[in-house]
Symmetry: C2
Amino acid sequence: MTLIRSWVDTANDPSCPFPLNNLPYGVFSTSGTQPRCGVAIGDKVLDVAAMEKAGLLRLADTPLLASAVWNPLMDAGAVIWDKLRSQLMGHLAQGADTQDQVEPYQHPLSGVTMHMPFAVTEYTDFYAGRNHAQNVGSIFRGNDNALPVNWLHIPIGYNGRASSVVVSGTGVRRPWGQLKSPDQEAPVFQPCRRFDLELEMGAIVGKPSTGPVTVAEADDMIFGYVLLNDWSARDIQAWEYVPLGPFQAKATATTISPWIVTKAALAPFRATTPEREKPLLAYLEEPRPMLYNIDLRVELAPQGGTATEIARTNYTQMYYSAAQQLAHHTTSGCPMRVGDLLGSGTISGTTKDSRGSMLELSWSGKEPITLDGGETRSFLEDGDTLTLKGTCHGDGYSIGFGDCSGRILPALTDPYAR
Amino acid sequence: MTLIRSWVDTANDPSCPFPLNNLPYGVFSTSGTQPRCGVAIGDKVLDVAAMEKAGLLRLADTPLLASAVWNPLMDAGAVIWDKLRSQLMGHLAQGADTQDQVEPYQHPLSGVTMHMPFAVTEYTDFYAGRNHAQNVGSIFRGNDNALPVNWLHIPIGYNGRASSVVVSGTGVRRPWGQLKSPDQEAPVFQPCRRFDLELEMGAIVGKPSTGPVTVAEADDMIFGYVLLNDWSARDIQAWEYVPLGPFQAKATATTISPWIVTKAALAPFRATTPEREKPLLAYLEEPRPMLYNIDLRVELAPQGGTATEIARTNYTQMYYSAAQQLAHHTTSGCPMRVGDLLGSGTISGTTKDSRGSMLELSWSGKEPITLDGGETRSFLEDGDTLTLKGTCHGDGYSIGFGDCSGRILPALTDPYAR
C-alpha cells in the first residue's frame, strides 16, 4: 500500500507516524479543557468529539465521541468503526471539499495532553513469545527444561490488573513488596531491587462474546492495538509466583501508548505466525495471517542523560497472535467485554540486542548492558525513562503508535506514612 | 448480641436468616419491573430504591439507590453506609412510627427474582485456607512438600475474571478446554471431566485506594461479604497452571450469594485468625479480629434427587483474613476500586466431612463420596445442583446470606456451532 495524501501537509512526510493511512484514536485535552476523543493526523490532533457535535461526523443517533474514552465507539460495532474511518478519510484527503470546515478542529499535537484512550475493562497478559519463554526458562530452569511442557500447545496467559494500566507519560513508582532471595532465611518487605520492563503489544477487544469463539471470530473482535510495557518486579515475582502465578509483581503499572492503531490501519502489514514446532489443536489454528509486521524498539534514558536503544525486534516474533490468544481465552465460556486488553507477552528476537526485558538483556544481572554514556544497567534505576516505539514501514509512509514512555520514580520512604 | 425485634413478624423467628440485625443488600425485580436495590427483612424484600424516591430514606443530595447495583451506595463512603443502616433500623424496629408508610414497600421474597447485587470491578481469588492448601498440596506433591514455601508468609492470590461472576441461580455450563492427562501423548480439546466447586467467602471492596494500605485500613475498606463458589475445571487446571497460574480452569463462572451481608451485621461475630505457624511480616499483622464466625455448608442435589450435605466447616478456618489479603494486594501500589471482589480461597476444616471441594472430598477421585440416595460422586455431574449456605448464630437470632446455588448444565455438543 502507498501513502494516501492529505491536505494536512505534515501527514505526507514518509517518516510521519500519523499519515492519512493511520488515523489512530486517542483522548486529549488542551489547557483548561476536558479530555475528549481525538484522531492524530500529521502534527495535529483532530477534535472529533467537536466535529461530531457540529454534524461533520455522522455515526449514530446518539453521540459516540462526546466521551473521555473510546469505549462507546467500540461498543457501537464494526460497521460504525468503518463508517468513522471512511468519513475521516473523506474529510482529510487531499482536495476534500470540507477542508475549510475541518481545519478549525485541529490542535497542534505538541500542545495537547494525552489521556488513557479507553477504559480498560479487564486486562490479561500472555507469555507467547517463543524467544522470551526460552530465555526466561533458561535463566531459571536451565536450557534443557526452558520451555514449559504446555507452551507449544497453549497460549499461556494470566489475568492482570486493569486498575494498574496507565497512559504513556505517567510516572511509575518503584514498588515495595515481599521478597526472599535464596540465601535469605526469611522473607523481607522492602523496595523492589530488580525492576524491569516488558516490551509487548496490546490488543483491545471491541466486540463482546459470551461463549467460545473461533480464531477468525476473535480476529474480528479486535478493535486495535497499542504498545504496552508490562512493568515487572522480578524479585517479588520470583518469591510469589509458585504456585498461582505473578500477582503483586505485575500490579504496580502497565503503560500503554496514547494512540490506538486500528486493525484497518494495520491491515497492509498482516503477517503469519512462525512455523509450528508441534501441531496446534484445531481450535487454535490461524485461518489467515493475524500477526503484524511492526518494528519495535526500546530506549532507555538515565536521569539527565540521552537515550540509548537497548533492544530492537518485531511483533512477528510472537508464536501466537492476539486472535489465537483471544480464542483460547474464551474456551471455558469466559465472557469477553468491550475494553478488555490483552498483552501479547514479551517480544524478544533471537539475537542479544533484540530482547524485550532487562532480565534477558542482562541475563538476570550476570551480563549488565552498557548505555551510550558509559553507565551500565542490570535492571532499571530510579530516574530511568523507558520508551517503546513501534513502526510499520509502508511504501512511502509509516504507521506509528506514539511513544509508550514511563519514568521510574523512587520508592516511597515509608509506604504507610499518611 | 441479641435479636433486635422488628414489626415484620417473620424477622423475629430465631431461625430466620434476615432479622433486623442483618439487613443484607441485594438487587431484585418483580414480574415486569426493572432490577433495583432491595433489603431483606424476614420473608420480605424492601424496595429501598422506591423508599429513597419517596423521601423515606435520605442519604445524599442525589439518589444512591435508584440503580440496578449497589456500587453508587458503596461509592458514597462509610458515613453514608452507616446512615442507611441506621435509617433502616429506625423504620423497621418494633414500634417504629413510620410502619404504615414503609409497609407498602414490602414484596414477598418468594415472588422476586434476584440479580447480581453489585457490578464486579475486578475479581481476585486467594488460596488462604490452611487445610485446603495442605490437602491440595498432598494430593499433587505428596505430604512432605504439600505447602509451598511462601504460603505461611504471603496470602497467595491470583487475578480472576470479573466478567464470569454470576448470581446464585444462574446455570453453569460445563466448559470445554484444552487438557492432557499424564498418560496422553498430546493434549486434547474436550469437555471438562473433573468439574468442581470451591466453598469460599467473598469480600467486597467499598472504598478505593491508590497506594499500600495497612491491614486496619483494609478492614475499613471492606463493605460486606457474600458466599462464593469458584467453579473449577481440575483437568484443565492441571495442564495449564504451570508456570503462570490458573486461567481458563477458573473462568467459566464464579457464583455469589444474592445478598451482601454488611460488616456492621457481621460485627458481633468477629473472630481472630488461627495462631501463626511462622511470624508474619509487620505489614500483614492483624491489629484486631478480622475473620468471622460463619458456619458454612455445602449441599449437592443430583438431578431430580434430594440434597445431601457434603461438607460443613467455618470461615474461621482461614489462615488469612480478607483484610490481610487486601492489604497484601496493595503492597505493589496496585489501585483497588469500589466493587472489587476478593475470594477467600477454599475453606476446608480438618476433618474429612469439612472439605470445601470435591477434589479434597473424593481425594482426587480416589475415594468417591456417597450421597444420601446412594449415588456416588468424585466430581460434579451434569444436572447436579450445588448450594452453599452460611449462617452466623447469634443469641436468639441468625444471620444468613441466602443460598448460593448453581446447577451444572451439560457441555455444548459443538462449542463453535452457530
